[in-house]
Symmetry: C2
Subunit: 243 residues, 2 copies
């Protein structure tokens, strides 16, 4: 196993950072590394808002459900799917542009995620820690307003970057045999049962035996309610009708 | 700039592969590296179909618009968003599960993309070349049938992996100043104009001056028509009503 693969396999989220700031040169190299990721038809359907205004960082920390490290980390980024730039550019080049397709929403989301993951790997290779913030989708309209996002641009997730001030364990993942399927999709209930045991041990050890739960139980509240039910209406208002 | 960042910044798609096969041990390390990526609330909402059946690879190559390297590369993978496993597991744990939310579709798409990009970085670190195949969304229903995907599982993209038999240049990207915005979204039309010139030079050089185009013009046919207009109906049929 080479060092890059070792680096990738040692990922864990960091939620506590030292006061050290990321040098500007390094920061820009991370973003360039992000841009080097593959992009669907070269559309590069993303923009990053680098939130430097401290009051806005504190507001976002609150809107994301009280995630203090958004305000405390060295640099906080909001990764946005951006279909405005490519469609506006095509329009200026003479195209009779159609917007709001489901496929465009998917392309922008995937392009953004590939780019962000490159930023993350670059950051971790330089000794930084990261934490993705899906919680910005708790209040996407407020955050879009705060960041003055125009139509056809939407926040996908946030990202905290900084020097780690904690050293958490790597969290277990599903057995490779369950997610990797040969030729056809196959059910993997028995492997999930095994993974539930793995996670029961993990939570038990982490809490000194006080937390009796497993993977399936942990997921229950997430699917027992409408997950972020405002998302569809929010996206439609941003110009993604999901046609 | 460290070696990992250099590796990330040197990415280009590979569409011609040697006959050399990827050793099984390395292949599994790539998938494990993929699984190590961050995942929203630990849902791991993805499955990979490793298409080894040669007849199916040839069918997919055709369904994706005649992309021969799907049949020729060492290993071809279809990355699927998988909300079946986490929601079924939560249901078995007693949850009264709600499916089909727009947010669930977004979580699965992002989880899948982060995981895939880790596989890609791991592969490139081992001297392999890759090519993402968005073209599998040209005919997602046929491909889902071929791979026996159940409800709540959908193909996001394919990935060709193998040893490169070509050495293409790195394709230019938008200026970092256009995609990285300080505190608020700002228009970047002038920077796009500059990038159009960069891409005009790039296409001119690549074709010995015979191709007079630029970024905006290249995007025009993509947005001048309904991009993959079947996607919404396809997703609804797979159980993603995008509520």
């Amino acid at each position: 196993m080479n060092e890059v693969i070792e680096l990738l396999q040692s990922h864990r989220s960091i939620r506590k950072f030292t006061d050290q700031k990321i040098p500007r040169d390094l920061f820009l190299e991370l973003i360039r590394a992000g841009q080097s990721a593959a992009t669907s038809n070269h559309v590069q359907a993303y923009s990053i808002i680098h939130v430097r205004n401290q009051a806005n960082r504190e507001k976002i920390a609150e809107l994301a459900g009280g995630q203090k490290y958004i305000a405390d980390c060295s640099d906080f980024l909001v990764f946005c799917g951006d279909m405005k730039r490519p469609t506006d550019s095509a329009e200026r080049a003479g195209a009779d542009v159609i917007r709001g397709m489901t496929e465009q929403f998917l392309v922008a989301s995937v392009d953004t995620a590939l780019m962000a993951q490159n930023v993350v790997i670059a950051a971790e290779s330089a000794g930084l820690g990261i934490c993705y913030i899906g919680g910005i989708r708790n209040n996407p309209a407020e955050i879009s307003e705060l960041l003055k996002l125009p139509e056809h641009v939407f926040p996908v997730f946030g990202l905290c970057l900084g020097y780690p001030d904690q050293d958490p364990n790597v969290k277990p993942r599903l057995p490779v045999e369950s997610i990797l399927k040969e030729d056809y999709y196959r059910e993997d209930e028995a492997m999930v049962d095994g993974f539930d045991e793995t996670m029961r041990d993990y939570y038990g050890q982490r809490t000194g035996g006080t937390k009796d739960t497993n993977w399936s139980k942990q997921l229950s509240p997430l699917f027992n309610a409408k997950l972020r039910p405002h998302m569809r209406e929010f996206l439609v208002k941003r110009g993604f009708e999901l046609k």
